[in-house]
Each structure stands twice: as structure tokens, then as C-alpha cells.
Symmetry: C2
Subunit: 146 residues, 2 copies
DNA sequence: TTTGATTAGTTGCACAAACAACTATATGCC
DNA sequence: GGCATATAGTTGTTTGTGCAACTAATCAAA
């Protein structure tokens, strides 16, 4: 028997991602309260563009672990909110490079502060060494399945 | 500074629940390959009914961390698949008690095997003591935010 | 016992995810 | 060059989520 350490009730939490769902909801509420008209999913796309602008949609797929249709629609919505712009690549006209608007650049600091705030609330009174182990395990899980 | 152990890249994984998303996708694929016409979300509702039949929709909300409209629609779809039945409570006619059909009872064993299989794949080569710590941390996070 | 508040569930809407099928462009091989 | 194949992105469909507004039933207090 392999790593079968999961009683039934624990199995459930792992599959459904109770903790990460709770984190995302908390962050979404913070966005709403701050008047940021932005979903967590939209934020997760901007997150990567803030690190590196001009990514292609395919690169955003890889970065965000979403499929192409999901990114198409997220970019649609971000464009409608005037936060990003699609720019056709010069070299390869199949490719859209995604650029941030002024408005999106202004959102970075505020939203990142709220995200860190959320994580601090989530991890309050959790010992630092345990957090380290937890991060390791989650990365390991991801690597096992990807 | 509180538990601010998160470099930016790690923050992202925690908020987006990379690991649990990967687990859910893997399980969904196993369902599909096995010919189980069932979403993970539907499974998560059945999961609780297998433990205790005749729960109200509100109780299912609490058990699955979903809001009332989500449960309404999940029960709608489960009813359409002929897996559950709504039965009005005798005592309180506002309440729907949810009962499993024969067909749903038959799904329990097979789907639970696939779920455990998925977790074993996810946790392959992860040391048991680290898994314990990880579970603790995730529960702690959930308690901090709920 | 009637009225006001609470609770259980439903419906409408906007957004997102997964899959399949599609278009358009690029590449590689003959 | 021309055709097969691969790649980037889009569209349609079904399902799920979160919020707000709603209905119906119950409860509680005057």
C-alpha cells in the first residue's frame, strides 16, 4: 500500500481544495471591498504580465495552467475592462502579444498588497517551518501530476 | 512582519490552488476514462450523501462549502442524471431532504477507488510525515479564514 | 393571531473552466 | 511551389460559482 494516509474525510479536502478556495474567496472579497473591479482569475493573468509584459496567449496558458479557450476569454474580458491590449506579433501573425494598459499598471501595487495581506491572514499562527513543508508537498504533488 | 514567507511566485500557487486543481483534473479524467458520467463537483455532493443520506440542501451547503444556489443547481443536475431525489421534509416544508437512487449507490465504490488512486498518484514519493504536516497547515489555513 | 423577521430554497445574471470543433498562419518535406 | 502537418487562437456547448433578488414556509413577539 503506497501513501494511503487518507481517511475518507481528508481525501475530500484534498480533492476539493478547501484551503485554496477559502484563500481565493477572501482575496476576492478584499478586491470587492477595495472597489477593484477584478476577478481572481483576471488578477492571475495580470500577475504574470506584471512580471513580463508582452507574453503570448499560449505562454499565459502555460503560466496559469489554463487551456486556450479559458485564456481567450480572460483576455477578452481584460480587454473589455481596458486593462490589456492584444497586439499581433510581427514575426508570426498567429500570435497575439498581450500588453498592459496604463490602468492595469496602476492596479499592481494595490492588488499585490491585498494578496499578501490575504496570505498573512491565512497563515496566521502557522509555524514557518510547517509552511515550508507544506509548500514543498504541494509542489511535489503538482510535479507528480503534471 | 507576520508569516510573510511568500516570495511572489509562491504566493501565486497558494492563491490559485495549483495542486488541488491538478488533483481534481486527474480525478475527472479517471471518471471520464471509466465511463463515469459525473463531474467532480457532483461527486463531492454524492460523497457526503454516501456518508449520510437524507441531508437537506442547507446541510450540503455547509458540508461542501458552497452557497445555496450552487447546491440547488448541483442537485438539479444530479436529479436529472437520476442519481438523487428531492423529498420534502414532513416537519418543515421549506426543507428538501436529498436521497440517493439505486444508481448512485452503485457508483460509490468505483468512484472512491478512483479517488484514492488519484491521491496515491498525487502523493507518490512524498514522505508520510510531510503529508501529515501539509494536512495540518491546510486545515489551519481553512480555520483561519472561515 | 397577526405581523415582522428569519430560514430554505430558487432564479437571473456575469464570469469562468473543460472539451470539441473550427479558422488562420506557419513549417517541413516532396 | 504545393501539400500535409503543426501551432495559435476563437467559438459553441455544458457545467459550475458567486452575488443579488426573489418566493415560500416557519418562528417569535406584541
Amino acid at each position: 500500500m503506497p501513501n494511503n494516509q487518507f481517511k475518507k474525510g481528508e481525501l475530500y479536502s484534498f480533492v476539493t481544495g478547501k484551503a485554496s478556495t477559502a484563500i481565493a474567496r477572501r482575496l476576492q472579497k478584499k478586491f470587492n471591498n477595495a472597489g477593484l473591479n477584478l476577478t481572481i482569475e483576471q488578477w492571475s493573468v495580470l500577475y504574470h504580465l506584471w512580471k513580463q509584459e508582452g507574453m503570448s496567449q499560449q505562454e499565459l496558458c502555460n503560466a496559469t495552467f489554463r487551456d486556450k479557450p479559458s485564456i481567450t476569454r480572460l483576455v477578452d474580458n481584460l480587454e473589455r475592462l481596458d486593462l490589456v491590449k492584444r497586439v499581433a506579433s510581427e514575426n508570426d501573425r498567429r500570435i497575439n502579444l498581450i500588453y498592459l494598459t496604463r490602468q492595469a499598471q496602476k492596479l499592481q501595487e494595490q492588488s499585490m498588497i491585498l494578496a499578501e495581506e490575504t496570505l498573512n491572514e491565512a497563515l496566521e499562527t502557522v509555524p514557518v517551518d510547517k509552511i515550508e513543508v507544506c509548500k514543498e508537498v504541494l509542489q511535489h504533488v503538482y510535479d507528480n501530476l503534471k
